[in-house]
Subunit: 186 residues, 6 copies
């Protein structure tokens, strides 16, 4: 039954407001076992002149980009080996950890590490999950990997999960787990 | 600057309301780049007699348990090998997938699978993340494993991540990824 | 989907608040074809010290009595011939019109008028409807009459409808229509 | 003093919103003895993109037609003997009961019944009352009948009351009481 | 932390709404020691068709003029000796009291009184304060006077304070205190 | 017609809430020419557990003392020559300016200055006005002085006005204007 009223400054797009409505709905469902139908979200938009903090009118901050879309675009660029475009999506202090690596800071390190492991790899996504973590949006993608081993034989159906942190519209961290070693060992 | 008013039925505990306030705050921060300080959440509680849907008063549904606490308790029971207590926390249709396994449905299967892999394993948690997914609360735990190989030698610092789904207060799915095979292979 | 917030002074009973919630729900349904389930009413109660008009705190006026209950009690008293108790429920300027009468002002007139028409009459109610009219609550009761003609023969199943106006907890007008003449004539 | 906030989807006309405001005002006055002046109704309109239930945006249902206007139009058509237009305003399962009739289902039955009773009849309305009943809007019209008896003599000033039920913009029931038999018998 | 929602009829200008927002913010700070940043004011504007009192839609009253701007204009006109324009800003029943005078009702009286006191005087404003008093807006101006004594010698730096009452956009009272006599006496 | 909803933390006394309601009402009247009756203030109180900023529950700050009462008490103490109690009501950096003085910082300076001016003085108050200024509450008191000149002759009816600034419950500034020199000179 909960009814959520969100008072926001005017200036967000319909898509951004849908994202907000759905995030608020999920927040309620995280605690209250209401059926979806019973959770109402109503957005009150205020033009700047109808909103004041400390007696000063305020302008809305631009919405944050959708971290899920942003991560999927990054993964697409990586799979297409459009490395400079992918690089541009990374924030200051970016780090990534893959199975058996320490913290890598550049895509070049990643390419070098992957070289002896597989000729190429493509991802099939089973699910993508995004939510707000402490100080960063978090995106999980999971599914299966297909590709070719260095010897040219094919593989497929290897489980993976990636975790990304997104701050201010930039990817600042990637952590990867998968069953490649498990499969190779078998 | 967003101000969130949440209208809920009376009957939730202070802890449950804190969880709700924080989930709503995170929902806002997922879309609007407001500083924490600038996001206000105000809960309006209605005793049943002050709330009606379709002209009928309604009683509040009990809050859902905190899925993070629930998953951590399950993991504690598993590590302590209190299997029947752990089993009681699993919901109908429970499935789990570990590296190299298909879908397992019972803890006995898990124990049998783990036998040749390690004598025992303990987890050190780097982080736990919980949020509402589609139709289930989702909990991610990640960190490092320590333990002994079947030959009695020790290992430690092996990365893992677990993903849990929690529905109606029961764990209904667990997916596990880790670097055990990577480390053993090296 | 409509959500109604009613801000009222503290001091109304649960029953009075239920009446208000249902009246508000009906008001919405009078205009918006929402299913019952989708109309939410939330009452905000303010203790006098949290409410001010023109800078002055205000006390709540006592709720009006339920006009439906009040009219049914009046009809019960009339049927039981407890005339003085019935009389006490009538307001200043009370008038009643029955088939073929002009405006009558006292119950004695009514008794006199009824004398040659029937020995006694009892009412079976099919429905009672109450709502707020212009300046008065209006109650309609309808159903069938049974009783005995002056010659002692019985009758039953004669349609009637009564309309009452209630102001400040007193009945101020009654209008009656029925098929007694129709039936007698046949 | 009550203040009513009604949160509705955008799309209702000014006339429909006036009807809603007045129905809500009457609902309050049904329970709280506030002077008219002291009852405030404020409508919050939400464009579809600012309203979500279960995370889904919703479109407003078209408002229900004003049942009072609808019934008066039907009565006008009947008096003008525009029967097919009147017929078009009746809903499935329509029934009507007049003095001395059982349930009639067609206007033809009504015309046949009225034939031996009067040559024609016109209505003068003293009042029309409309409100939301259980599952239907209810309209009462009352006043006096004038016309000619079958023998051509005139009559006038005969009290009547009609009760109508309106569902989904169609009249589904009419009940009529009047003093015709009373007058004829006298 | 206070959040103020002000529900007003549509039709006020941005400047008028800023004045309202700031007055509401000051009202909060008069009682609650919140930092400016923590006081939020949100204005809900209702077009006439979305607002009803007693079931009647209402039009907004035009905003009152800013009394501070109005008083400063009056003082400017007086200093420029544009007496008829200044006179036009005075309301019915205007009275003024200067040091040593009784109640004066016309600007001519004032000019006559000032004649033997100084050749001319100009004001330097240290501060202007405006707020709503009982039944009138009140404006205080204070600062220092400069000018010439009747003998042509100059003076400056003499403290003054003026108090004005403004009703319905007209100045209805002025009270003046200053140190002219103190300075002359010394 | 304006309706003001003030959302505040629970913990303010009835008197403090009355002060807040009245200050908000005055703020509205400063801009909107609504009759007193038509300005409604409704306070929503939130216990700490129902209010969060940045996901953290907050406790209410104690209300500021009524600056009017505080200044009147200070004036009473001064008139009664209870100097140490009066001194205790002054804040850091306190300054006062009287006719013909520069900035004085201590009550001793004031006493010394007044010595040759009058034997004693008492105040009759015509009005006290208090409102929130920039960073301080401001209190104006005005009326007439009575007392004895140094030569023992009595005086009365001399106009005065005092302006006080109050910060954090302490008086930090006093400015005084009066007609003593005007009267003495005449």
């Amino acid at each position: 039954m909960p009814v959520i009223e969100a008072h926001i400054l005017e200036g967000y797009s319909a898509v951004e407001k849908t994202r907000l409505s759905q995030a608020l709905t999920q927040a309620v469902r995280f605690v209250v076992p209401a059926p979806d139908e019973a959770i109402t979200v109503m957005l009150h938009e205020y033009p700047s002149k109808d909103y004041a903090r400390g007696g000063q009118h305020r302008a809305p901050a631009p919405a944050l980009p959708d971290p899920e879309a942003l991560v999927l675009e990054y993964l697409r660029l990586m799979e297409a080996r459009e490395l400079s475009a992918a690089q541009a999506m990374l924030g200051d202090g970016f780090e990534m950890v893959f199975p058996g690596t320490g913290a890598m800071k550049t895509l070049e390190e990643l390419i070098a590490w992957a070289g002896p492991r597989y000729r190429f790899v493509t991802k099939t996504y089973d699910a993508v999950e995004a939510f707000q973590g402490d100080g960063a949006a978090v995106v999980y993608t999971r599914g299966t990997l297909a590709g070719e081993w260095p010897d040219g034989t094919a593989f497929e159906g290897i489980r993976f999960i990636d975790r990304f942190e997104v701050r201010d519209g930039k990817i600042t961290r990637q952590d990867v787990w998968n069953d490649i070693a498990e499969v190779r060992a078998s």
